[in-house]
Every structure is written in C-alpha cells, then in structure tokens.
C-alpha cells in the first residue's frame, strides 16, 4: 500500500514537473498507434470485403474450373458434369461491362455481370440468385432482365424496372433492372442475369468463364483435382478457396505492408522521442533518484518506478491512439476508399469493423515501444552509484551509457549485409530491417561523430578565441556530445526519412514520367470504355477507325488477362506490333535483348515485364509455355521491359503471332499517329463521329500522361501524409528535447547570469548551439537519408513491386527541406530558451537540484 502511495506521489510529482514533454511524448505515441491501427483497419476492411465478394461468387463450391485465358469453350461442360465425383456443376460467364455516361465522371466505370444457369446455381451459389418482382417470376430466365446488388443499384442510381445501358467494346446493350439479389456483400457492385442471355448480349455465345463444382460427400478432393487436371490439360486451372484467399491477399500485400511500415516509422519516431524525453528526465532527476536510493529504495524499485512512468505514458498514448486510429480509418475509408487511392479494390465500399485483436496488437506495440524507450535511461539510473549521483555535475556520467560505438558499427555492418539478402515471402523484410538498422546505427554513432566534429572545431577555434558565447557553445558541443546527441537524434531521424522519401518519390515520379514518354509515343489513344474489354473492336470497326482521315500510322493492340498461378493475381498479355530487331523502339527495355537471329527456328518471341522475371522466373533466353488459343504454346523470352502499370506481371507479343494462334481478330486499343499539319482535335472529332464513337475512350497523349501522373500522386497521397506525420513527430521531438535540455541546464544558465552574461547572450548562445547542432544533424541526416533512399530505390521497391527505377536527387527540394528543418529547429530553440533567461534561472542556482 505504502509502495503504491509513494509510487503515485513520485509519478504525479514528475508529471507536474514536465507536463509539456510528457504531452508531446503522449501525442507521439498516440499518432504512431493511430496511424498503424487505422491503416490496419482500412486494409483489413478492404481485403475482407474483397474476399467476401470473391467468396460470394463461388458460394458453396468445392472447386472452381477456370481457364488460364478469360474464357473457354462451353463444350467442356458436359465432360466435367459427367465426372462421377461431381454432384452439382454450375457454369458461369463473367463479363466486365462499361457503364455508359459514367466514363468521364468515374474512375472505374465498369460493372461485373455474371451470367448463370438459375437452376444449377441454386445449389451452389444461392446468394447470387435474383429476386424478381411478384408478377414477373420468370424474369430470372428473361433475356433482358438483370438483377443488381444493392451497392450496384445505389452506384448506378437505378431501381427495379429502370433501363440500364451497358457497353462492351463498340456495342451497347440495354437491359432492364429486374430486381435485387438474394444476398450480396454490402459493398459489392455486381449484376446477375441468365447465362444464355449474357452470352448472347455480350457476344460470348458458346463461352464460359468458370464452372463451380460441388462434389459428392466422400469424394477425395485432391485425387479428383489431379484426375480432372490431367483430363482438362494445360489450359485449365482448378482453384480452391485457399487459392482464392491467397490471390486476394497477394493483390495488394506489398502496398499494404509498405503503408504499415510507414505507420511503424511514425511509431518508431515516437519511441525515439520517448527515449530522448526519458533520458533527459533521468539526467535532470539523477540526484533525486540517488536520494531515493540512499533513503532505501532498491534498484528494482527505482527501475519499476521509471518503467511505470514510461508505461503509463505509453498506455495513455496507445489508448488515445486506438480511438484516433478508428476515427481516422472511418474518415480514410469515406474520403479515399478502401485502397486509400491506390486502385486495388475498385467496385467495393467496405464497412469498418473494430478488431479487438488488432487493437490489442497496436496497444501492446504502443506500450512496448514506450517501455523500450524508457528502459535504457531507467537502467542507467539504477546502475549509478547514489553517492556519486548526489554530487552535482555528474550528469555527463549518465550520458556515457549512450555511447554505443559497437552498437553503431554492428548495426551498420548488419544493414550492409541485409541489403544483399533476397526477399522473404516476396516481401523485402531484410530491406526494411536494413533501413531500421541504418537509422539506429546512425543515431548510435552520433555522440561519437558530434564529439569528433565539434572537438576539432573547438580546437581550431581555441587558437583564435573570440567572445564568451562562441567559446561556451563550442566547449559544450565538443565536451557534452552525449547530451547534444539526444536532440540530434530527433533531427537525424526526421531529416533522413524526409530525404529518403523525397529521393525515392522523386526518382519514382521522374522514372514514371520517362516511362510514359516511352510507352506513349503516339498522338492519340483509342480504346473501349473499360480496359481488356472481352469483345473489343471487330475487324469491321477497326477498319472504320483506321479509315479516319488524317491518320499517319495506327498500331492495333489486344490485351487480355491470363491466370498462370491460381495463388497469384492474373497477368496481362498484350499483343501488338513490335519491332523484333529494336524492341526498345516500342518498349522501355531494361537490359540486353535477344535479336530474332538468336532465337531458335520457329520460336515465337515474347518480351516480359520485370515482375515476370521475379514472380515466374521468365528470364531472357528461357523457353516458356503459355496457354493461348486452343492449346499451350511455346515462346522464348527475348527481353525484359520496365512496367509501372502492372505490378503482377505483363507479357508483350507480336499481334501477328497472337492472331495466328488464337484466330481472334478483335482488338481493344489503337495508338494513332497524326499526319503532319493535322490537328489532333480534328481526328478526335472524326473518331467521335463514327457510328460507335460514343463508346470510345479517346485520349490525346498529354491527357493520359496527366491522368497517369495525377493517379501516381493520388496513390502516393497517403504515403506523403504518413511521412509528413512521421516528420511532424520528429520535429515535435526536436522541440521537446530542446525544451527539456533547457530545463535540465537551468542552473547552468543561472550561473552564467551570475557571472555576467546578459540574457540576450544566453539566448544567443542557445540559438547558435541549436543551429550548429541542427546543421550538423542535417548534414549527417542527408548522408543517412541518401543511403536509405538507395535501399528504398534499389532493394525495397524492386522486391515489393517488382520494378526498378533510376535514381534522381531533387536538390532544390532537399535544400528547401534543410532550410525548413533548420528554421523549425531554431524557432523551437528560441521558444525553449524562454525559461533559460527567466528569473527562475537565476533562482535555480540556489536550488539543490
């Protein structure tokens, strides 16, 4: 009981003494936890919603038969249905259709249409059945009726009985909204109709997207799967629920992990702030702690007390962080959507659910990092000899424990090793660790670096000393580098992260700009409303487009999704004319290419994106099999190109090869070069005047470029925000540590007043000291930031997103940031110097602490 009372008194006394520093520490932990928790909630909401949406489409199916290509011949259905293990089979056609009139206003103007056999689907995917009006019970079989999920109805602003016009390629399809669905995940936008009607309306007569299978009880799934796979051949894949979960998980994993890491950076910066705050507090309380030890407090009691103080900070900060995190997640979902602007989860409006497990994790993380930040200073406080600590002037002894040259060296060495290690589970775990180690190593090296630098400066100055202020500043910086390093640590952490992120984002943006220039050589691009439209433009429609007056050259392209691995998102296959001798004329190649003469006779070349090399080992010169047309074809990888548009892999091949193998004469995109002297707008007008002009998405090169860069900025908006908050927490830490140092040194300032320094001189001394420290921190932070940016650019990005980029240093931006940092630090020193020049300082000389 007495122990608790004493603990409470000491705690409240300490909190009274440094309200501002504690408030800053609580805010730092709160922000770190809030960011981590909110991002986790948003990501979980999005993935759960996406997963639920996928599951609702497969219902109670045991196995899904899909083709590697988007569709397959429906004549395979009887063969599958007749398998003795199959109890129920439900064929389905999935088509993405454009929503007419929405393309200018919505980013994803597409609606998923599922065609199903009502009688077969009832046993496997009952949720997808339509609910017709009471007087139109046979609408589920009607040729023009479509049943929409609530989210789709709300999004399209239609009701039962309304007309809905959709587009597929150049074709328009008008359907009647026949009703809603039995049950659909709340945020999923989907429409369901009779499979025959869907095949007919959307030009897919005789084609299916998948077959859902339910097996007889007792049938061995693995054995059946193996048997069916061998019967169906290479062009088919058999997908289980676990594959589906993995695919959903893989879809945005790297992006989600990156956001989580950024949120953890904010928490790390917060932990550093707590560390700095606790170190300065224990330095200031050194004699007080020694007295408690003299009066009979054991080391364990002191340690417990100091950890309790830190732990309480963490508890309050983490609890507030959870509340703020939940609010931020709700706001983020509302304004930015499920993917926070990255474009992974189009067509979903997920709802937020509080997760006690996640809350527990982030609470423990918040309290944990605070305890970690408090542990070292608390440990130092307990190991000090009370008799020594009671004497004033022994404060610098306390900071000796902060000199860790071995730790710094060890961290930097490990970081150098880690950057060379491969990803773990396709995530750059070692890359992230290397960044953390660089930061820790850099901070740990600071006292030594600061001591060496300012010591040398001080020696040079000693030869020609000028004025007390400068002498005092240099003497302190060189002889008390441990204390100086506390403030420097915050500057270093914040500035290096700012520099690293600025270099990475600018390198990425400039690389994307270069890439856009390379991949958008034509003047105008024409495509269907939605990408990879299943129908595209027929040869007759292509002829009409080609015959528009004023066109110098036109490249036709066909692209489709291909599923190579059921655990991964689909890749994109693009067929277009490519100069096999000089593929770099068409594609942004990254390395050497195989010329046609180096290919074996009759081998068809393909050029793959960097992601294909990492994910599927499609290296240059390798023979690969791809499902195309009726069978699997053999190709040879002739080169690797850089693709910032498709993270999960893309393959480019000759359009002629594609047409020969598939017989598909349709195309989805056209790149148009305008004749000299012809106005681009004139061509656009002529294209709009075509019979299907309304269904065309026509984009002049500059517009695509601007939209792409706007999307880039939008997808980085959250990254910028998180980075900004991490830097804000860092700056808060700098202000807090300057202010705490001013309090710690108040007797020193009082003494200087007594011996004749004016208050202005003391303020000037502090500002010069703070300015020199910040300047030094900025220089070291710049070096560290560049090193971190190299890891981000050359390790983390390629391992996370499978793309490389060229390094660009945005010098002017870096100079502005350095100036802003210096100004912010000097302003906080100016503010923190107020108590140093107050009457309290003069009085403090007479105090015994």
């Amino acid at each position: 009981m007495s122990g608790q009372l004493l603990s409470r008194w000491l705690l409240l006394g300490e909190w009274r003494a440094r309200r501002l520093q504690l408030l800053v520490a609580i805010i730092a932990i709160m922000l770190g936890v809030a960011l981590g928790f909110s991002i986790h909630l948003i990501n979980t909401a999005a993935v759960n919603e996406f997963s639920a949406a996928s599951k609702s489409l497969t219902g109670m199916s045991d196995l899904t038969v899909v083709a590697a290509q988007p569709t397959f011949d429906e004549r395979r259905f009887p063969e599958i249905l007749q398998q003795p293990e199959v109890a129920q089979a439900s064929p389905m056609l999935e088509i993405m259709a454009g929503v007419l009139g929405f393309q200018e206003t919505l980013r994803n103007p597409e609606l998923k249409i599922i065609g199903l056999d009502v009688f077969r689907a009832a046993a496997i995917t009952p949720d997808l059945l339509g609910i017709p009006a009471e007087d139109s019970q046979f609408d589920t079989l009607s040729e023009d009726g479509i049943f929409l999920s609530p989210a789709a109805m709300e999004w399209l602003a239609v009701q039962q009985g309304d007309q809905l016009t959709l587009t597929l390629g150049a074709k328009q399809v008008t359907l009647r909204v026949a009703g809603g669905l039995v049950r659909a995940p709340s945020g999923q936008r989907v429409g369901v109709m009779d499979i025959g009607a869907a095949q007919w309306h959307f030009d897919h007569v005789g084609w299916l997207s998948r077959i859902e299978l339910k097996l007889h009880s007792g049938a061995n799934l693995a054995t059946f799967k193996a048997k069916l796979a061998s019967q169906l051949g290479d062009g088919f894949l058999l997908v289980e629920g676990t594959n589906q979960d993995a695919r959903v998980h893989n879809l945005s994993r790297a992006y989600r992990v990156n956001l989580n890491i950024l949120a953890l950076v904010a928490l790390f910066t917060g932990a550093f702030l707590v560390f700095a705050s606790q170190v300065l507090a224990t330095v200031r309380r050194r004699a007080q702690i020694a007295l408690l030890r003299v009066l009979g407090m054991t080391r364990q009691q002191v340690l417990r007390q100091l950890l309790l103080e830190g732990g309480l900070l963490g508890t309050i900060g983490a609890l507030l962080g959870l509340i703020l995190g939940y609010a931020l997640a709700a706001i983020g979902l509302h304004f930015y959507g499920a993917d926070l602007g990255a474009g992974f989860f189009a067509g979903l409006t997920p709802s937020l659910h509080f997760s006690p497990m996640a809350a527990g994790f982030y609470f423990v993380a918040g309290v944990g990092v605070t305890l970690l930040g408090s542990l070292l200073p608390a440990w130092e406080a307990t190991r000090t000899q009370p008799a020594v600590a009671l004497k004033s002037g022994s404060e610098h002894e306390a900071l000796a424990v902060l000199r860790f040259p071995w730790l710094a060296g060890g961290c930097l060495l490990l970081a150098a090793i880690f950057v060379r290690l491969p990803p773990v589970g396709e995530l750059p775990i070692f890359g992230y660790l290397a960044v953390a180690l660089l930061l820790i190593g850099g901070v740990a090296l600071l006292p030594w670096l600061a001591g060496a630098f300012f010591g040398r400066l001080s020696k040079r100055y000693e030869r020609h000393p000028k004025g007390a202020v400068r002498t005092l500043v240099l003497a302190r910086l060189s002889n008390a580098s441990g204390l100086a390093a506390i403030a420097l640590g915050g500057i270093l952490a914040s500035f290096s992260l700012m520099v690293a992120m600025a270099i990475m984002v600018m390198s990425f943006r400039l690389s994307v700009e270069d890439w856009l220039t390379h991949v958008l050589p034509a003047d105008i691009y024409v495509r269907t409303v939605i990408r990879q439209d299943a129908r595209g433009f027929t040869p007759e429609e292509q002829q009409l487009i080609t015959s528009v007056a004023g066109i110098e050259r036109i490249d036709l392209m066909r692209s489709q999704s291909v599923l190579l691995d059921p655990d991964r998102p689909m890749i994109t296959l693009i067929a277009r004319p490519i100069d096999a001798h000089q593929p770099a004329n068409t594609l942004p190649m990254t390395d050497a290419v195989l010329p046609p003469q180096a290919l074996p006779k009759n081998a068809m070349p393909i050029w793959v994106s960097e992601a294909m090399v990492d994910l599927y080992q499609f290296t240059v010169g390798r023979e690969v099999r791809l499902p195309l047309g009726d069978s699997t074809q053999i190709f040879m990888v002739a080169g690797v190109w850089r693709d910032y548009g498709r993270q999960f892999g893309a393959i480019q091949m000759q359009l002629a090869d594609y047409r020969r193998l598939t017989g598909d004469r349709h195309i989805g995109d056209a790149a148009i070069w305008v004749k000299d002297g012809v106005d681009v707008n004139e061509i656009v007008k002529n294209l709009r005047a075509l019979p299907f002009g309304e269904n065309l998405k026509i984009s002049p090169r500059n517009e695509i470029r601007e939209i792409s860069l706007a999307l880039f900025d939008r997808s980085f908006a959250v990254t910028y925000l998180l980075e900004l908050i991490a830097v804000g927490v860092g700056l808060l830490g700098v202000a807090a540590s300057f202010s705490a140092q001013a309090l710690t040194r108040i007797k020193e300032f009082g003494m200087l007043c007594h011996i004749g320094l004016t208050r202005q001189q003391i303020r000037r001394m502090l500002i010069v000291e703070g300015g020199l420290l910040t300047g030094f921190g900025i220089i070291i932070g710049f070096v560290l930031g560049v090193a971190i940016s190299l890891i981000l650019v050359f390790v983390i990005n390629p391992q996370s997103f499978r793309w490389t980029m060229q390094l660009h240093l945005p010098w002017s931006w870096l100079a502005i940031m350095a100036f802003a940092m210096l100004t912010a630090a000097i302003l906080s020193v100016y503010q923190a110097s107020k108590p140093a020049i107050s009457r309290d300082a003069v009085r403090a000389v007479k105090e015994d602490w």
């Binding site: 007495s2 003299v294 009066l295 009979g296 008799a387 007479k846 015994d848 602490w849």
Partner: protein, 221 residues
C-alpha cells in the same frame, strides 16, 4: 539496557585507484551517542559515511550495524538496512522539488511500509507544522534543512548520518539547525555522526573525532 553498539567498524580500508583513503580503520559508536567527525578535505570523511551507509564497499574489514554485518556485495540487504536504521542529512538538502513538504517527510515511512501519522508531528517539531502542503521552492535554505531533519528522523532510525548539514547556511541559522538536530536526535533516542569542518558545529556533539591518515582519534574539547 542494550549493550550492542549501534555501529562497529573493524579494520576498514578503502582506496580509489592508487590513492589510499582509509587504512585499517576501527571505530565503535554506542547507542545514543552523538559524535562529530572532523578532518581535512580529501581525508575520507564522506567516504567513511558512504561505507557506513552501504553506499560504497570497503576493500577490506567489516562493518556491523546494530550487530548485523553489512555484507559486502549484498546490495539489497544493505539497502534494507539503510532504509530501516539510517537517517540522512546532506549539505545540499536534497528535498524532492515536486513533492510537498509532507510528502517529502513521508518518504522514509512509505519505504519502510510504516503509517504516516508521525509526519505532521515531525514537521511541527522542526517548526514547519503549518507548511506541510507547501512545495520546496517556497522555502528558504534553513527551512529546507529543517525538512531534511524531519525526513531523517521521521521513521525513528537508530543512526543519523549528517554530512556538512550547515555548510550552506548562515552562522545563526546554522547554530539553530545544529541545536535542532541534536535535540531531535536525543528526543528520538538515535545516535548520530556529524561530519563537519566547523568547530562550532562539532561543539554540539558529545565528542569530536578527527580523521587523519592514521585513523580516527578523539579530540579533547
């Protein structure tokens, strides 16, 4: 009557690096005895107090407090012994700045898990009965030392160790404080060792010992 001495030092030696501070020192303090220890600067007076309090360890020799040996290396035992048997008064007061006077004086009671009802009386005894809820920054140096005296005696320790308790005070206040220490030590039945440079301060003790390189010798007054 209790015949066990409150403190017994047997052949204590202590050196820092190559400098020998205490050499083969022996000394006994009877219960209720109040002694002053004088000596030149650096002769080892503070070291002696630190060794007695278990804040430092002797290189050789033994220390008994109330008959219990102060075991070398057993820090927890030393802390518990110090907590229970010792009271401290420092030259620099060392009052925790963010606790009230009542809270500061209560610290030893809390650490010993004793009731706090003696705190107010102790503050009243040193003349600060009406200032219990004040904070240290509101007090003068003399008043702060009175708080330190109250804190040193509140848990009825057997031995008070006072290291230059009047070093920071003016002569009049110093005399007042010394008389107060003596009165309170005697009133509480404690023993005390007063380390000082001041002959006037030493004069308030029962006997005066001088610490030299040859050990402790009693000085005739």
């Amino acid at each position: 009557m209790n015949t066990i001495p409150i403190l017994e030092l047997c052949n204590i030696s202590k050196a820092y690096a190559s400098r020998k501070v205490l050499s083969d020192l022996s000394f006994t303090l009877a219960a209720g005895e109040y002694v002053a220890v004088m000596g030149d600067s650096g002769v080892g007076k503070s070291t002696l107090l630190n060794l007695i309090a278990g804040l430092d360890e002797a290189d050789s020799g033994k220390i008994f407090v109330n008959g219990q040996i102060l075991a070398a290396g057993d820090e927890v035992a030393a802390t518990e012994l110090r907590r229970k048997y010792f009271g401290f008064i420092f030259q620099a007061f060392h009052i925790l700045p963010h606790l009230t006077l009542l809270q500061n004086v209560s610290l030893p009671l809390l650490l010993n898990d004793m009731p706090l009802d003696r705190t107010a009386a102790m503050l009243a005894a040193v003349g600060l009965g009406d200032r219990g809820h004040a904070f240290p920054y509101q007090l003068s140096g003399g008043e702060l030392q009175r708080v330190a005296i109250a804190r040193a005696l509140v848990h009825r320790p057997r031995l008070i160790l006072a290291d230059e308790p009047t070093g920071n005070l003016d002569p009049d206040t110093a005399q007042e404080i010394l008389q107060l220490i003596r009165a309170e030590v005697k009133a509480n039945g404690a023993s005390a060792i007063l380390v000082t440079h001041s002959h006037a301060a030493a004069a308030t003790a029962d006997k005066v010992l001088t610490l030299t390189g040859n050990g402790l010798t009693e000085t005739r007054r």
